[in-house]
Symmetry: C2
Subunit: 201 residues, 2 copies
């Protein structure tokens, strides 16, 4: 299937597209053909926005999210509660929490999670920056909001130890039955957590 | 999930990635985070190769495939049989036929196929260029090698009428049981074709 006789710019494009996560050889080829044949304007836009994003974006000095400036808008907002620090894996997770309109504190974006299976260890995640941030003397609660996957739980466990050793108060998002769901369709592990963490109504 | 507060270069990148076929909002966001966080070099490469490919590639004046020059290598090869013209949907299909080492003729790459459901009609595919190419006085057989999907078959049917009206000899790749497969696992439609087109061993 690979195109040994493809013109160099086409072969280079297919190779570069394969660096996108979840894109294999066939998808990359299909994407290249599609862009060149049906959406050259989209290809130009994507090319420019990639170069532009890599050049202009950096990490917020406080929360580590992507930003064009030194410190992002959320961290600069004086109305946010600086005593609470919510730790998330990605900016997408932060957006979900913001969308719940139930958190007024600040964030730290890990930009990843521990994954021993994928060879992602503590050194690959900037825990040093998180520790520095969490021990600023103002933060008095670190809320762990990593995903409830194996990797997210591993990360939360590791961070709990790390934070507690520094005398920080650590909490984790509650596990339980999702709002609007029927017990019949909820997995047994979730039911077990919901029972264990049951509370007065 | 959408990031209303994302810095402009990040939002622009996510939007541009969504133009890739098969990439939705979540995948685009994941791709953007991955490139920015873990592979900025890959992002730069992809950006440059997109711009480069759109600038340098054009269509072969004879077979319509992507090429950096006026006429591609295959079309210029004097050892190819100019009396046979094989019509394929994409360069990937052409590569598969080349890999079979059983065809010495020339090609015409449609760069698409008819798809009434997706609103792709005869005007969107360059049938005019194919007709011009097929009626050069040298070609005496047009081999239709579009896919054996609904769209590919529709395209083949349409081209058969078009070519026959010009007095051209048209053939279609044989349908039948794939080499190496067990009948038990072959679909009934294929078995039906294999029976209909049965031949002396």
């Amino acid at each position: 299937m690979s195109d040994r006789n493809a013109p160099v710019p086409l072969a280079a494009l297919v190779d570069a597209l394969r660096r996108l996560p979840g894109v294999g050889a066939r998808s990359a080829q299909r994407m290249a053909y599609h862009l060149l044949q049906h959406d050259p304007q989209g290809a130009r836009m994507l090319g420019q926005s990639l170069t532009n994003a890599v050049e202009k974006l950096r990490h917020c000095a406080k929360c580590n999210t992507f930003t064009e400036v030194e410190i992002c808008e959320v961290c600069l907002n004086p109305r946010r509660d600086a005593t609470q620090l919510c730790v998330v894996e990605t900016p997408a997770d932060q957006n979900m929490i913001e969308a719940s309109h139930s958190y007024q504190g600040l964030y730290f974006v890990l930009m990843g999670r521990l994954s021993p299976l994928e060879g992602v260890g503590p050194r690959d995640i900037r825990f040093d920056r998180l520790l520095e941030r969490a021990t600023d003397g103002v933060v008095n609660e670190v809320i762990l909001a990593t995903n409830f996957t194996t990797e997210g739980e591993t990360t939360a466990h590791y961070l709990t130890e790390l934070m507690r050793a520094r005398g920080l108060r650590v909490t984790r998002l509650a596990r339980g039955v999702p709002v609007g769901s029927e017990l019949e369709y909820v997995d047994a592990g979730t039911i077990a957590w919901a029972l264990m963490d049951r509370r007065a109504p």
